[in-house]
C-alpha cells in the first residue's frame, strides 16, 4: 500500500512544474545548526542550484521536528514535503530534472557507491565529532543545539539527542573508536575521493549538449552530478567551520584537488547571490565560523 501511495504521489508530483515559492528548511544558521546538518543542507542547496531550480532557504528552530523523517533539510514544494538528499533527487527526477541520466549503468552504480561512502564515512565522522567527542560536545554542541529553547528544555533536548546518537554509534560499531581512528577514516575517505576526482573538474565528466564559456574559451559543457553536490556540501562545510581544533579540516586540506573542487563549485554556483541568509555558502572568505 505504501509503495502504491508513493507511486501515486510521484505521478502527482510529476504533473506539476517546479513552483516559484519552493522552500528549503533548515535550523537557524547562526546560532543553532550543527556541522552535519549544515553539510547536508548545503549539499541539497548545491544540487538544486546545479539543476537550476530556484529555492529559498528558510531557517526555523524546529526544522528537525517539522521534517517527515526527522532529518534536515527538507523541501516544501507545492503540497509536497520531501526530506534528505536521496528522496529529493528522486523527487526532482520525477519532475523531469536529472543530473545523472547521462551516465551509464556502471557509472550510476559507481556514483551510488561513492555517495554511500560519503554518508557512511564523512557524515558519521561529523556526527561522531559533534556528539561523542567530549570537548566538542561541551564547548560547541550543547550550547548550539538547544539555544532557541529556554532552560531546562535546552539541556533536556541536547542530552536526549546525544543519547540517541551515541546509541546509533554503538549500533554501527563506532562507539569504541577513538578520535584518532575517526580522523584516520576521514583521511582515507578523502583519499578515495581525491583519487577518483583526479585532475578532472567533476567526478563524472560526461559531456552534455551545449557549450559554456569558461577560462575565456568556449568549452563543451560538463555537468556535475548529485555526487558532486554531496561531496561539496560536506567538504566545504568541514573546511569553513571552526571547531575546537583544526584536525578535521586539516585532513581535507591535505588534498589540494579537493580544495580546488570546492572552490570551483562555490564560484560557479554560489557566487553572485545576495550575501543574506538565503545561501549559506556565499562568504568571500574561505574561513567562516559556525559557532560562538
Amino acid at each position: 500500500m505504501a509503495l502504491a501511495a508513493e507511486a501515486f504521489m510521484t505521478q502527482l508530483a510529476a504533473a506539476e512544474p517546479w513552483p516559484e515559492n519552493a522552500a528549503l528548511y533548515q535550523q537557524l544558521k547562526d546560532e543553532q545548526i550543527l556541522l552535519s546538518d549544515n553539510a547536508s543542507s548545503l549539499a541539497v542547496q548545491a544540487f538544486l542550484q546545479m539543476c537550476n531550480l530556484p529555492v529559498r532557504v528558510v531557517c526555523r528552530a524546529n526544522a528537525e521536528y517539522m521534517s517527515p523523517s526527522g532529518k534536515v533539510p527538507f523541501i516544501h514544494v507545492g503540497n509536497q514535503v520531501v526530506s534528505e538528499l536521496g528522496p529529493i533527487v528522486q523527487f526532482v527526477k520525477a519532475k523531469g530534472h536529472s543530473l545523472s541520466d547521462g551516465l551509464d549503468e556502471v557509472q550510476k552504480a559507481e556514483m551510488k557507491a561513492y555517495m554511500e561512502l560519503v554518508n557512511n564515512m564523512l557524515l558519521t565522522a561529523e556526527l561522531y565529532l559533534q556528539w561523542c567527542d567530549d570537548v566538542t560536545v561541551e564547548e560547541i554542541t550543547h550550547l548550539r543545539y538547544g539555544s532557541p529553547y529556554p532552560w531546562p528544555l535546552n539541556r533536556i533536548l541536547s542530552y536526549q539527542k546525544q543519547w540517541e546518537i551515541r546509541r546509533k554509534m554503538k549500533a554501527i560499531g563506532w562507539a569504541g573508536k577513538s578520535l584518532e581512528q575517526v580522523l584516520e577514516d576521514v583521511d582515507q575517505c578523502c583519499q578515495a575521493l581525491s583519487q577518483r576526482l583526479g585532475t578532472q573538474p567533476y567526478f563524472f565528466n560526461k559531456q552534455c549538449k551545449g557549450l559554456t564559456f569558461q577560462y575565456r574559451r568556449l568549452v563543451p559543457k560538463i555537468r556535475p552530478t548529485e555526487l558532486d553536490a554531496l561531496v561539496f556540501g560536506h567538504l566545504f562545510t568541514i573546511l569553513t567551520t571552526q571547531l575546537t581544533s583544526d584536525e578535521l579540516s586539516e585532513k581535507v586540506k591535505n588534498y589540494s584537488n579537493l580544495i580546488a573542487f570546492c572552490r570551483r563549485i562555490e564560484q560557479q554556483y554560489f557566487e553572485g547571490h545576495d550575501k543574506d541568509s538565503s545561501s549559506s555558502a556565499t562568504s568571500r572568505s574561505a574561513k567562516r565560523s559556525l559557532l560562538r
Binding site: N62, Y65, M66, V81, P150, W151, L153, L157
Partner: protein, 456 residues
C-alpha cells in the same frame, strides 16, 4: 403528642401516656454533657487531625444534638479518605467522674491499609479509558495521600504521580503536587501531543465559592499524526515549554453534575503563561455558565453559555495546543468533533476566541416506561446549540471582535435520548440538524452519539 388510645383500660392508658412524654423530654429537653470521646482503631493516624474533626461533638447540648454532631463528625472522618469505616456508639458515662447526664461517644474506626490498588474504567469526552491506580492513603498520619495512576484510553495514554495534603481541620483547603506524562492523539488536527509536566495547586473555599491556584510547568512535544498533515500543522511540530500560573473559581449550586434538576454553575478560569519561564506567553480566559430550572411534569429547562479568549503576549503567534476548539457531540451538536472554524487542508487549527450556547429541555421518556427503575436513567431532550470560533486580530478593538464573533454563527437543533451513568457520565444519542455551516466545517447531520462529562 398523645399516646395510643387503649380505650377502657383507664389506668394503664394513663401510664402509657406518661412514658412517651418522658422519652421525648430526654431526647429534646434534657441537657447532656459529652464527657469523653473515645477512639478505637487508630494506628498511624495522628491525634491532632482527629481532634479537629470531632471537636464539635463536645459542644452538643442534648441527645439529638449529640447524634447529629456525631453523624457529622463521622461524615468528616470518612471524607478524609483514611478510614475504611467509621462507627459511632453513644452511651452513658460510667466511672468515678461520671455525671448523671454525661455521655460517652466512641468512634470505632478501621484504617485503610498502607497500600491500596484499584482498577477502573473512565469516560471522558467521547473517549474511554482503563485506569490502574496505586494509592498510599494517610502516608504520614495526617491524611496525606500519594497516588500513582496509569491510564490507557482510546485517545490518550498517561501516567501520573501525585501528592495530596489537606490542611488539618480544614479539609477543603488542600494542596497537591503532580507529575505527569500524557500523550494524546487528535485526528481532527492531525496532531499528536505529548505533555510531560509538573504542577502544584492550592484549593481553598471562600464563602460559597471554590478557588484553585495552580502553577504548571509543561514540556510539550507536538508532532504530525500522519504524513498527510497540512503544512500549518507541520510548522507547529516541535518542542515548547509552558510555565503558567492559573486561577479558577467555581460556584456550583446544582443538585448533581450530570443531568441536574435545579441550580446553577459558574466556572471562571484564567491562565497567564510566560512570566515564570518557558517560551510560551499568553493570557487565557474562559468561563462556563449553566442554569437549570425544573418545570411542570418532571421536565427541566437548562441554559448554558461557554466562552473564552486567548491573547498571545509578545510577537510569537499562539500555539495550536493552547487554542480553543468547537464542535462535536459534547459541544455544538451536529458538527464533527472539534471541526468548526479555521482549518487548513482539512486539519482544524482551533481559534483564539469562541463562544457557545445551548438551550435544552429535558423530559422523561414518552409514556414513561420503566418508571421508578431503569426508565428514570433515561431522559428525552430537545436542544438548540449555537457557537462561533475565530481568530482575532487584537489590534482591532473590542467592537470589531464582537462583530467578528457575531458573524457566521453556527447553530443546530434537534432531539435525542440521554442516559445517565451514575453520577459520573452521560451518554447521548441525538438527531441533529446543523445550520449556519461555513465552508470548511465538517458536519455530522443525522444521528450523532456522544459520551462524556461536560456537555454544552
Amino acid at each position: 403528642m398523645s399516646g395510643p388510645d387503649f380505650g377502657a383500660l383507664g389506668e394503664e392508658a394513663e401510664l402509657v401516656e406518661v412514658e412517651p412524654e418522658a422519652k421525648q423530654e430526654i431526647l429534646e429537653n434534657k441537657d447532656v454533657v459529652v464527657q469523653h470521646v473515645h477512639f478505637d482503631g487508630l494506628g498511624r493516624t495522628k491525634d491532632d487531625i482527629i481532634m479537629y474533626e470531632i471537636c464539635d461533638v463536645f459542644k452538643a447540648k442534648n441527645l439529638i444534638d449529640v447524634m447529629k454532631k456525631s453523624h457529622e463528625a463521622r461524615e468528616k472522618l470518612l471524607r478524609l479518605g483514611i478510614f475504611r469505616q467509621v462507627e459511632v456508639l453513644i452511651d452513658t458515662c460510667q466511672g468515678d467522674d461520671a455525671l448523671p447526664n454525661g455521655l460517652d461517644v466512641t468512634f470505632e474506626v478501621t484504617e485503610l491499609r498502607r497500600l491500596t490498588g484499584s482498577y477502573n474504567t473512565m469516560v471522558g469526552n467521547n473517549e474511554g479509558s482503563m485506569v490502574l491506580g496505586l494509592k498510599f492513603p494517610n502516608l504520614f498520619g495526617r491524611a496525606e495521600k500519594v497516588t500513582f495512576q496509569f491510564s490507557y484510553g482510546t485517545k490518550e495514554t498517561s501516567y501520573g504521580l501525585s501528592f495530596f495534603k489537606p490542611q488539618p481541620g480544614n479539609f477543603e483547603r488542600n494542596f497537591s503536587v503532580n507529575l505527569y506524562k500524557v500523550t494524546g492523539q487528535f485526528p481532527w488536527s492531525s496532531l499528536r501531543e505529548t505533555d510531560r509536566g509538573v504542577s502544584t495547586e492550592f484549593n481553598f473555599p471562600i464563602w460559597k465559592t471554590n478557588h484553585t491556584l495552580k502553577w504548571e510547568g509543561v514540556w510539550r512535544e507536538l508532532g504530525c499524526l500522519a504524513r498527510t498533515a497540512s503544512f500549518s500543522v507541520r510548522e507547529e511540530s516541535g518542542h515548547s515549554l509552558k510555565s503558567s500560573l492559573s486561577h479558577a473559581m467555581v460556584i456550583d449550586s446544582r443538585n448533581s453534575s450530570i443531568l441536574p434538576r435545579r441550580g446553577a454553575l459558574l466556572k471562571i478560569n484564567q491562565e497567564l503563561a510566560g512570566y515564570t519561564g518557558g517560551d510560551v506567553s499568553f493570557l487565557k480566559e474562559d468561563f462556563e455558565f449553566q442554569l437549570n430550572k425544573q418545570l411542570l411534569w418532571d421536565s427541566v429547562f437548562s441554559a448554558s453559555l461557554w466562552g473564552g479568549m486567548l491573547v498571545p503576549i509578545g510577537d510569537k503567534p499562539s500555539s495550536i495546543a493552547d487554542r480553543f476548539y468547537l464542535g462535536g457531540p459534547t459541544s455544538v451538536r451536529g458538527f464533527s468533533m472539534y471541526s468548526i472554524g479555521p482549518q487548513s487542508e482539512g486539519d482544524y487549527l482551533g481559534g483564539e476566541a469562541y463562544w457557545a450556547g445551548g438551550l435544552h429541555l429535558y423530559t422523561p421518556l414518552p409514556f414513561r416506561p420503566g418508571r421508578g427503575g431503569f426508565g428514570d436513567l433515561f431522559r428525552t431532550h430537545f436542544f438548540l446549540n449555537a457557537g462561533n470560533l475565530c481568530n482575532l486580530n487584537y489590534g482591532d478593538g473590542p467592537r470589531a471582535h464582537l462583530q467578528k464573533l457575531a458573524e457566521y454563527i453556527r447553530w443546530s437543533y434537534g432531539a435525542g435520548i440521554v442516559l445517565r451513568l451514575g453520577n459520573i457520565a452521560r451518554l447521548e444519542l441525538n438527531y441533529c440538524f446543523p445550520m449556519g455551516v461555513q465552508s470548511g466545517d465538517r458536519i455530522c447531520d443525522g444521528v450523532q452519539f456522544g459520551a462524556g462529562i461536560r456537555f454544552l
